[in-house]
């Protein structure tokens, strides 16, 4: 087996577009779930509206800046739409509404009636050129050995990782402020927060909104990378990958989602190469074929998530003492 290949594939993925996009999605979930205790099981919906908001605006002749703004505002709108009716209720309602809203959105954008607008099942393409026109890097390949990217990807990577680092720094400022204290108090006990004069509803709405905007940024980056978006991509596993990234990195730790995304994509991609090579060499005999690598590695994600919860509930960067405080 070619371990060099496995390693370079993994390394390339660990700093690649997906790692950055999922880091952003997980930073958003961290604000919502990690710090405020909101169960958003439809983060993919925020990625979707970001991607489609941007794609449709460009498709209709809008400039790039407006398209990005529309993508972000779409997430704000979605957060308000989902949050205002549910955040006054018990926590589980948000979980139900977000997971269903994400499904509704995915099915809606794929509908035949909206074909002129969203491209229906075919999706929308060709909206990313305005972004790549701004590319300052000369044509070529950049990197060390096989861990390299072309000038287009490098440009998107630069922007994406700048968003990730900027996002993590913003979260760090927020969390270490009195606002962050209110967020955590709501996670711990909303009634206690309210009994001390904190407007829990408004604060939860703000958290949902901020987390949703980070999700939208992740969605926009994924769409720009593919120069294309259609409904097939925006399915529930995207949300669960983002949760895995968050738990792996460390719930309620500022840089956990970033490290989590890098580790996740290193193993997720490395495992793919490993499985393919093993199958080609007949290690699994007739039991597995190369088409099985996709499902197999998703199964491994589940397994890894379980192992994490048992052996390292605080993730890579989380605080073990905090994770294990007895909740009475």
């Amino acid at each position: 087996m070619d371990f060099g290949q496995i390693l370079t594939d993994g390394l390339r993925a660990s700093i690649g577009i997906n790692a950055a996009a999922f880091a952003l999605a997980a930073i958003g979930l961290n604000v919502q779930y990690g710090f405020t205790g909101l169960l958003n099981f439809g983060q993919v919906g925020f990625l979707l509206v970001g991607a489609y908001g941007t794609a449709i605006t460009v498709d209709r002749g809008g400039p790039l800046w407006l398209a990005l703004l529309v993508g972000i505002l779409a997430a704000v709108g979605l957060a308000m739409l989902l949050g205002i009716p549910t955040l006054r209720l018990r926590a589980d309602y948000l979980a139900i509404v977000t997971i269903s809203a994400a499904e509704i959105l995915r099915i809606t954008v794929a509908s035949r009636q909206l074909e002129g607008f969203t491209g229906g099942a075919f999706g929308i393409g060709g909206f990313a050129e305005a972004f790549y026109d701004l590319n300052p890097y000369p044509t070529g390949r950049y990197g060390i050995g096989d861990v390299s990217f072309n000038h287009r990807t490098l440009w998107l990577l630069t922007v994406a990782w700048a968003c990730v680092i900027g996002g993590a720094l913003i979260v760090r400022l927020l969390i270490r402020s009195p606002f962050g204290r209110v967020l955590r108090s709501i996670r711990e006990d909303e009634d206690a927060a309210r009994s001390l004069g904190k407007n829990a509803f408004a604060t939860k709405l703000q958290a949902l909104l901020v987390g949703g905007v980070f999700g939208a940024l992740g969605g926009i980056i994924i769409a720009l990378d593919a120069s294309f978006t259609n409904a097939d991509y925006w399915k529930a596993p995207v949300t669960f990958f983002a949760y895995t990234v968050l738990i792996l990195g460390g719930v309620a730790s500022v840089f956990g989602p970033v490290l989590g995304a890098m580790i996740f994509w290193f193993f997720y991609t490395g495992l793919d190469t490993l499985l393919r090579q093993a199958i080609k060499q007949g290690v699994f005999g007739d039991v597995l074929t190369t088409t099985d690598t996709g499902p197999m590695r998703i199964a491994f994600v589940g397994l890894a998530l379980m192992a994490l919860m048992i052996f390292r509930p605080q993730g890579m960067l989380g605080n073990r003492e905090e994770a294990l405080v007895d909740e009475r």
Partner: protein, 277 residues
Amino acid sequence: MSDDAILEARGMRRSFGGLIAVDVDEFHVPRGQILGLIGPNGAGKTTFFNLLTGFERADDGSWVFDGRDLTGKPSYRIARAGMVRTFQIPKALSKMTVLDNMKLAAPHQRGERFFAALARPLWISQDHAIETRALELLDWVGLADKRSDYAGTLSGGQRKLLELGRSMMTAPRLLMLDEPTAGVNPALTETLLERIQSLKDEGMTVLFVEHDMDVVTTISDRVVCMAEGSIISEGTAREVVSDPAVIDAYLGRHRRTAKLATEGRADRDDHGEGAGT
């Protein structure tokens, strides 16, 4: 008397299905005093607390706090107005430090606004002042050496003390304590009661729900007794405790059984019914 009431409530009603949990025509809390609210289990004391503090919606009724109508206001607004409550089962914010629990409660924090939170210089000096105050109050409740521990590691009694200190961080004008000594060991109970009494000396008004008659008679200036949702007696602790209506509410059939027993005619049929009271 009602001229000098800090809180006045009228016509408070709340029912759950067919059960009338609270039905209080008139209730007032005299300013600067300690008022004890007593009553047997299920009398509606906690529900009444919840109505006044906005944690449950009243079917009917109105209440005025220090000249402000708070009828139907959300709980956080009632707390901001200066009516601050604690809970029967203390709500320590487990995964936050004791000090953060305290600092959270301070009112009017500039850094609680989203955009201001991002600009540290806007709120950092206020935050330092809040921390100083929090440390003073932690000292006052005897938890100063626990300041960096997670609140989830505190004992039940320590959580009650933390809640008391945390409520004081809000600078309340009426402190509403729901069973402050429940589940607290005797030594800590004494500390707690001393603290509550010292608050009164500083001009604070305190309303507290309590089961323990000793506690009630020790610290309250006046006592109100509820039973089956209504107020059945009020006055000084001594007056209320000796009120036949109160004795009836507390002892119910036990009393009758006891009386019958002394008359030498213990009635077997009554045993079962009295057991749960």
